[in-house]
């Protein structure tokens, strides 16, 4: 037990929780905490340029390390600026502890200067939140916040601390064992059910693993166990946007991403499988399309740590509540121990069918010698960085989908993107957080020119802390994803999706004391990407691409999987059949 002020308790608790960096922005209601940050070296503070950036940076930090991200902002506008980031973290299950300053307790509810109802505003966009009105509660609340953020289905937790509580003195100690009165997420899966699942898997003729962000949340062991199980069974595997990297994209059993912009083979396998094994994925509408036509003939097994994810959109036949790593471990063990033999012949036929879908080559595009195709830019970036120690973040739009389709991830925690909320402006600050966590790694934000302007000011943060992030802007001058929908669904009426005035990104980079590169011709792309990789500074890379390119495949919202649209470069069905036919004969 040590006597200290509430502000000092905040630093002590952060340090005790192993927080290395806290992303923040000062203001009146958190000055005592900033005072406590001064002249200490247990926790380093990273000064961002906007509170939204602080939260996204913490998300990048958290997602790339598996640790809890920490944020410190002031009351009122500081807290409201953090709301987008909080909602983003809630949608994508990212563990964060966000500390907000509040007006002194005696003024709460009084419309005081820079007062807002932080716990009221953030209740729907946090996993849990606290208003601390007694300094004696502060040590417990702070440690509880970390526990709640990281355990079960992870998410953001807000701790709102009035200024008088920051000044008040009390006793601090780190709780030894942590047991919450009511909150006890279940991590071990029910063994009987896991046994049943293994039996169903052994009996399946057209099985498919459908994995998601939960595997990443669960930690490295879950990815390793997933790989082991996929190898043992010989089943095909697809993943959501959030789960990329859990299974290596270079592997033969990998079908690519599924969903709205997923591959032909992944979506058709989902549609035609007879057993779907969902692991840490939440049957999002980008995946299911029209619900009544979603994988109509399959039995479904769902492994998820959050009981409310189960039977939310799609009714499943067998639900296993538990942590992926635990459940997968039991599955691997039971599969190895069982004398069950999968139907080899059926599986072979299933792979043959999948081979036909693959032959469609659904990610193909027509390249050009005159103009850089966005897909080509991402493929070159991949080829020139593959094998390196690299982390990719993205903004939101077409570039994000192309990155997901074409950049091949071999390892978990290497891919940071805003999936659930789809927050433009996520990628640049997220890259800042990732680079801090991995100072010697290459960190690239694959960006759109519209998105990146939403949080561009964090370039200034990157420069201040010598974080050599690379912002690779796929510049099509359009809000490309919006333009694509307008083209396909609104008769080509491009209302306000073209940006008439864009900054000169090279000059903008220079204004930030960063490095700017522009590339306009396919022929010079490789050389300029190499230049980007060589510069040991933050870089804005303005990659000027074809403004008219669309992202395919695409399942228009609310349509079933068999109404998937393809680009004109993909092999047509007739051709695929003849091609396949040639091989077969």
């Amino acid at each position: 037990m040590t006597d200290m002020t509430g502000a000092e308790m905040v630093i002590a608790a952060l340090a005790d929780q192993g927080v290395e960096h806290i992303f923040g922005y000062p203001g009146g209601a958190v000055l005592p905490i900033y005072d406590a940050l001064f002249n200490q070296d247990r926790v380093s503070h990273i000064l961002v340029r906007h509170e939204q950036g602080a939260v996204h940076a913490a998300e990048g930090y958290a997602r790339s390390t598996g640790k809890v991200g920490a944020v410190l902002v002031t009351s009122g506008p500081g807290a409201t600026n953090a709301v987008t980031g909080l909602t983003d973290a809630l949608c994508d299950s990212v563990p964060l502890v966000v500390i907000t300053g509040q007006v002194p307790t005696h003024l709460i509810g009084n419309d005081a200067f820079q007062e807002c109802d932080t716990v009221g505003i953030t209740r729907p966009c946090t996993k849990y939140n606290y208003l601390v009105k007694n300094v004696a509660d502060l040590p417990r609340v702070l440690h509880e916040a970390f526990h709640i953020a990281a355990s079960g289905r992870p998410g953001p937790v807000v701790v709102d601390i009035p200024k008088d509580i920051q000044f008040a003195k009390g006793a601090y100690s780190r709780p030894r064992e942590f047991q919450h009165r009511g909150y006890r997420p279940k991590t071990k899966g029910d063994l009987d059910k896991i046994k049943e699942a293994v039996d169903m898997m052994a009996a399946a003729q057209r099985p498919l693993f459908y994995t998601g962000g939960g595997v990443i949340n669960s930690g490295r062991a879950a990815s390793d166990l997933l790989r082991e199980l996929v190898k043992l069974t010989g089943f095909p595997i697809t993943s959501t946007l959030m789960g990329l990297g859990a299974f290596p994209a270079a592997d033969r059993q990998w079908l690519g991403m599924l969903g709205m912009h997923g591959t032909w083979e992944a979506n058709w396998s989902m549609h035609d499988c007879d057993l779907m094994i969902a692991v840490g994925a939440r049957f999002d509408d980008r995946i299911t399309g029209r619900l009544d036509a979603f994988s109509p003939g399959s039995k479904k097994i769902h492994i998820d740590i959050d009981p409310s994810s189960i039977n939310k959109n799609v009714k499943v036949d067998l639900a296993i509540v538990g942590d992926c790593a635990h459940v997968l471990e039991d599955m691997v063990r039971l599969w190895r121990a069982s004398a069950l033999v999968p139907d080899k012949k059926a599986l072979e036929a299933w792979w043959t069918q999948i081979g036909k879908w693959r032959a469609k080559n659904s990610l193909a595009y027509r390249n050009s010698n005159e103009i850089i195709k966005p897909q080509y830019a991402i493929q070159r970036l991949y080829e020139l960085t593959k094998g390196r120690d690299i982390y990719i973040t993205t903004e939101v739009g077409q570039h994000q989908m192309w990155a997901a389709q074409l950049y091949q991830f071999q390892e978990p925690n290497r891919w940071m993107t805003s999936g659930g909320l789809g927050t433009m402006g996520y990628g640049l600050p997220a890259a800042v957080g990732v680079q801090l966590a991995h100072p010697n790694s290459l960190v690239v934000d694959i960006a759109g020119e519209a998105s990146v302007l939403m949080t561009m000011q964090e370039m200034s943060t990157a420069v201040q802390y010598d974080l050599p992030i690379k912002v690779f802007i796929i510049n099509n001058r359009y809000m490309g994803m919006v333009r694509q929908w307008q083209e396909l669904l609104h008769g080509g009426r491009y209302a306000h999706s073209y940006t008439e005035a864009l900054p000169d990104f090279v000059k903008l980079a220079e204004a930030y004391h960063a490095h700017g590169i522009r590339c306009e011709h396919p022929g010079e792309l490789d050389e300029k990407i190499r230049e980007m990789l060589k510069v040991n500074k933050p870089v804005l890379f303005d990659c000027v691409v074809d403004p008219a390119e669309n992202c395919f495949p695409m399942i228009p919202s609310g349509r079933p999987h068999n109404e998937m649209l393809l680009g004109d470069a993909a092999t047509r069905v007739e051709d695929a059949v003849t091609e396949e036919g040639k091989v077969m004969v």
């Binding site: 009146g28 000055l31 509810g109 200067f113 716990v119 009221g120 000044f167």
Partner: protein
């Protein structure tokens, strides 16, 4: 440390006496209305000691919320004004402004026991005018209505006799005399 000197906020005003008040709030029975009322209390740091809600005028879709709260006269005044400002709120009346209002609560009390304890529970229930609404050969459920302190004492007396659980409605209240709210 003198906190007032290091902050840009005014210091606390000299404290007034904290009082308990019962407020009746007539609201449109629409989705989310209860969340708005409760959110006002939590957001502004007001206390709720008891809360009951039910639709009372079906044709007009009006619900009556009875809230028992605590605060200084200034805070109570603020609470009333803040409640009144909510769009779906029709009227707010402080039932305790003109002296104590009629306040009742209903509780169901489950007691489990045999022999002498069972007899004693029945005798006390009789004295408190509690009714038996469910009985097995080893348990009773009593229904009791009255002011909160009466229910409190009944529950306390049942504790050593095998109290299992209590369910209470919270306070409903109405003004005395011929006038409505």
């Amino acid at each position: 440390m003198n906190t007032a000197a290091t902050t840009h906020y005014p210091a606390m005003t000299t404290s007034q006496q904290v009082e308990s008040r019962t407020l009746c709030v007539l609201v449109d029975n629409e989705p989310g209305v209860l969340a708005r009322v409760i959110g006002l209390f939590s957001g502004r740091g007001y206390n709720i000691d008891s809360l009951t809600v039910s639709e009372t005028e079906h044709e007009e879709h009006l619900s009556r919320i009875t809230i028992v709260t605590r605060g200084t006269p200034m805070v109570i005044e603020q609470i009333k004004n803040q409640l009144d400002r909510l769009v779906p709120v029709h009227r707010v009346v402080d039932l305790t402004s003109g002296g104590p209002a009629l306040q009742r609560e209903l509780a169901m009390v489950k007691v489990r026991g045999k022999g002498e304890h069972r007899m004693e529970a029945l005798r006390l229930a009789d004295a408190f005018r509690a009714r038996v609404i469910d009985a097995t050969n080893e348990s009773f459920v009593f229904e009791i209505t009255g002011a909160s302190d009466k229910i409190e004492s009944f529950v306390n007396l049942m504790r050593p006799l095998g109290l299992v659980e209590v369910s209470r409605t919270g306070i409903v209240a109405i003004g005395r005399g011929p006038e409505g709210m």
